[in-house]
Amino acid sequence: MRKLYFNIRREILTLIRDKAGLSILFLMPLLLIIVITLTQQNAIQSVSSATIELLFIDHDQSTMGELVRKGLSGSDEFNLITQYKSKPLTDSMVKALVARGKFRVGIIISENTTEEAKQKIISGLQTLIEGDEKEGDTAKVHGIRVLFDPAIRDIVRISILNAVKMATTGAESSLMTNVLFSRLSEVIETKDSVSLMILNALQDVDVDELPQQVVEVGESYPGSSNVIIKPNITQNNVPAFSLFAMFFIVIPLAGSLIAEKNEGTYDRIRTLPVSYLNILTGKTVAYLMVCFLQFLLMVLVGIFVFPYLGLPALETGNHYFAIFVATLVSALSAIGFGLLVGTYSTTHNQAAMFGAILVVIMAALGGIFMPVNMMPENLKLISNLSPLRWGIDSYLNLFARGAGLVGIWKNLVLLFAFFVVSLGIAAKRFS
């Protein structure tokens, strides 16, 4: 243990004295999350091309439900799903599927929405004519609920919400026309004095004064815990880019292994009465500390600095232990990757180029730049092999979906297994 302590100490001294390397480890990732988050905040237009799968339940089974369904399915952007594994969707299924991130959006049209909306329109028309607003007239019909995966990107959420609102407004307009036509029919058929009076009065009404947005499109985020975290760019970017930054320790870590190999210290170490696993464990512990510091710094910037930049502050939820464990195994996985690259590279430049590019590729496959569910099917499959995907999914489950250890254990096992295998390969190769 004392030898391990001295190995850790030596690695820490080496790290501390490498000022340029430290700046890469700490300043570059900070710059990265700030710049990318600010950029993405204003980049809403890029979402449009992919088809988004929407879970859709129509309890209304009438005009509103039908018109909203037509409004959404008429667009190439959405694919409406009404069954899952050959079973008709239920409210609880939709909630569960969206909460787990299996689907990003669910839409539930409530029972009697059309009827209630009709009543609201009629009552709105009467208020308009009589000028006497009754209690409850301003209340909307709670007809449409949109359930979002808490880890959904803000720009995607806004885009979907706007589309649903447009479809609802279109449906409301059709309903209003129906109501007016039916009144007109009544006037023609019955010459009812009240209806005639309404129609006469409507001649003087400005279109803008007609009842509008009578059906509320409610938004909710069915997470795994009681803590409700509203999806936003910070909840996605801070954990994801922290992980991205962690994997960049491949450069100094692989560099230190290569330097030891090329400068003869590796051979000298092998003549010492200490196992190479001990040496590698020393490296692992030292770099683990770096990863934790990196992560802490990122989280603190997300909580305290982002609001000053006009960005939403990071919310950490209440699963602190799970966040600790996820960070631990993610960092170990990043270190394992560094050990692998250092083991098989022969020069520092080779490791820097190979390691850095591979991290970017793994990050892209992991969904850091574009959500995995918007990728082509073959890429989705490949992304399952990326340790960054396992890490990002874990962090999104924790930070956005409010999941605990139970919700992320599979990914944690994969990350830890990756570390063990990498360490084993490096130790075997070196000894």
Binding site: R2, K3, F6, R10, L13, T14, R17, D18, A259, E263, G264, T265, D267, R268, I269, R270, T271, L272, P273, V274
Partner: protein
């Protein structure tokens, strides 16, 4: 100090590397007695570094044995690592650590801690005149300081057998003299030293016995004086070496 008992017996040592068939050692036999200052000489690619690597347990031989004959010594790789000190040809130090930290680290890996470690490191710094450079990062040190630190790092655990692979490459006359004085002192105190060099005058000055290796085989063994005497027209070890190994350039 006994000069008769062989403490290192090397028998029929072969080493073949993987890849293109290449025998680095083709059956080396050597007996090195306790307290000897033993020179291993040879041109480039003769097999010197391979022999040293096998001796230090860096990799196993293809055939043959190396036995350390110390009382109660079990010849396991971990036991061998405790009694051997290697001073490699490269400056095998951690560039970002100071001279003091480097020497201490190698001591710590040999199980030295606390007062014993401090006393040993301070003694080495003093003996090799490194005290005023102790706080300098080795990357900032001159070649001579690096060489002396490299030597100290291999000596910090007071090994029974010290293996030096060309320890004076690129150092000035003063540093070389200091290293020589220190090595002679160690040898007088009973440390068995194996020394490889390309400088024949160094071998002649320091070594009580030498073996000349070429193409993976020992081609001459004995004290420098005896070997020179055996050769009719050789005045020194350098002339003998060229006569035995030829003047053709090697790899």
């Amino acid at each position: 100090m006994s000069l008769s008992r062989p403490v290192i017996s090397i028998k029929n040592l072969h080493k073949r590397y993987k890849g293109p068939s290449m025998d680095a050692l083709k059956g080396i036999n050597l007996n090195i007695t306790a307290g000897e200052f033993y020179g291993i000489l040879g041109p480039n690619a003769a097999g010197k570094t391979t022999l040293i690597s096998l001796l230090c347990g860096l990799f196993p031989p293809t055939a043959g044995t190396i036995t350390f004959n110390y009382n109660g010594f079990d010849n396991t790789p971990s036991a061998v690592k405790k009694i051997i000190g290697l001073v490699p040809q490269e400056i095998a130090l951690f560039a970002s650590l100071t001279v003091h930290e480097n020497i201490s680290y190698f001591g710590q890996m040999h199980g030295l801690f606390g007062r014993t470690l401090h006393k040993t490191v301070d003694g080495l710094l003093d003996r090799l005149q490194l005290e005023i450079h102790a706080g300098k990062k080795t990357s900032k040190c001159s070649g001579g300081i690096k060489r002396r630190t490299n030597l100290a790092a291999g000596m910090v655990h007071n090994p029974k057998v010290l293996v030096l692979d060309e320890p004076t490459v690129g150092v000035d006359a003063q540093s070389r003299n200091l290293i020589f004085e220190y090595l002679k002192e160690l040898n007088r105190d009973g440390t068995t030293i194996l020394y490889t060099t390309h400088y024949m005058n160094e071998a002649e000055e320091l070594c009580s016995a030498v073996s000349i290796i070429d193409d993976g085989l020992v081609i001459a063994t004995g004290t420098p004086e005896k070997l020179i005497r055996r050769c009719d027209d050789c005045n020194d070890l350098g002339e003998l070496f060229l006569k035995l190994t030829g003047k053709a350039l090697r790899e």
